[in-house]
Symmetry: C2
Subunit: 336 residues, 2 copies
Amino acid sequence: MDIGSVGEFGLIASIRRRMKGKYPPEVRLGIGDDCAVLRPTGEVDWVVTTDTQVEEVHFRRDWLTPYQIGWRAIAVNLSDIAAMAAQPFGALAAFTLPAAIEVAFFEQMLDGVCDLGFRFDCPLIGGNLARDPSRLTMTFTVFGRVPRSRAVLRGGARPGDEIWVSGRVGGATAGLRTFLQPISLPAPVLETLRRRYAQPMPRVREAIFLRTANGLTSLIDLSDGLAGDLGHICEESHVGARIVAEALPVECGVHEVAATVGEDPLDYALRGGEDFELCCTARPGALAPLVDEFRAQFGIELTHLGTVTQEPALRLVKADGSEIALSPHAFDHFQA
Amino acid sequence: MDIGSVGEFGLIASIRRRMKGKYPPEVRLGIGDDCAVLRPTGEVDWVVTTDTQVEEVHFRRDWLTPYQIGWRAIAVNLSDIAAMAAQPFGALAAFTLPAAIEVAFFEQMLDGVCDLGFRFDCPLIGGNLARDPSRLTMTFTVFGRVPRSRAVLRGGARPGDEIWVSGRVGGATAGLRTFLQPISLPAPVLETLRRRYAQPMPRVREAIFLRTANGLTSLIDLSDGLAGDLGHICEESHVGARIVAEALPVECGVHEVAATVGEDPLDYALRGGEDFELCCTARPGALAPLVDEFRAQFGIELTHLGTVTQEPALRLVKADGSEIALSPHAFDHFQA
């Protein structure tokens, strides 16, 4: 049964049913009118972001399950809320859909959206469904709240600050490679890498934890690659950065995949993108005392990568002590 | 020169430059970080909506100028803000673009977005640009503010209320027909009809004017056709409606276009959709005293169409006094 037989309003009714009892106090009116109605309460700022996932650009239907397509599409937006150290509280969903898509496919996609959204207290509060002749696209707009003036921006890094990263990097790119060509890997390693690409976990709670530590000066999520995203921090903060290659917490299996494909594993970590880990800068000594608690609470590492510099350049210190300049250019959609 | 040569970050920088000095007090941080930062001030509610325009579904590049494509895409969202009787204050823009699009095309599209957005004090506060292999799509998320608890919803219509509509209806559908086949019309009539489709004018100020009149009970904008949108009001209000065919303010030229194509002009008015006029219900006698002032302020009519009924059906009273049942079904993207 394709979605044409249920129709736009049938699909919307199905989404609306899933949201029963899920709205936070800010949401006075959710799905069902021309707009959602939100009521600001208390001394907060709201943050808002939007991001689109396009079939055949960001994912393929033969790589990901419908569940994973939905999960990934809201995950990349929740990650932007994490990058401000805010708590999500609602999302708008704008999908374009070929009319031949099956109802079961649509519902499984929604399962993925809801499982991840509800995990972070982020229900759907509105949206739009439109037909697309050929391609599935999913645009989410996600809202978050943060105590007033406490959103952590890109522009606060100062020379001498430490540079830190959460979790492991390079895994999403390696995972993507395993869809593009067969690569021999132990099953659990393959599974982890593919999951890094297919079902990224936004670091919402980790970011809020880091904000509550005094001394955090800037924060970003890794969507364009570590070099690109650290480049964004440097640009907005008018500083540079020196990071240590040996310190990079490269995901297990990245070296094997890179060797098979004939690429440099460092490139996966520095330019790969879509790991959706956090990269932050902090006053010297501010985060080191929290490393054990971070690991205990979240089950991932917090790793000291390098130092913010006055000179506005991005440099990588290699194992032999030599330094190379990194181009800060992030992944660009139109200059692939 | 195509957008690939400027790149994603070049395009974003161009948008960011246009927004200098345009942000209202709510916008603490606009384009340039992972999220925009908004600060609620005073006793207000915020409304938010999202809508996507898809090439080859909602428009074609050989029908509309790039300027009109941009204008129309933000207009349909501003119209949803009007439908809550709110004042827009900012928008997020998520575009998917073929890399071969010319920079000049993109900039003209932005001209259309900005000319209409700025007219309603609605700058771009963030967004996303992604590649699409074949199709241009534009998703806007627009924010509005309204005095607390004063947003006008769909669910407030009561039996005995009057039904009113702004401006003229059926013009957008007739305009669309003139793109689909050559139709002989006087040049100014053709121009008006095409403009109704290509550059709709959201009724933001008109809606706020109507809200300040006491007695408004429900409000919607005409995106799915009068029968469909009045059907939404009836459904959410648990009422019915009786409207008078002779009262329908049909746009000039609609009869000629319908006669040429061999369709019923009433269908253009009732089912056509995308006129983006306002349809509202009000307590008996509340709006009649305002008709002259409405015309004087806005240059368009406010027309009394019929009555809200207890019986949950949509009925049309024809010129000979006979009544027919109207199917309330709105345009459905997946049941075309």
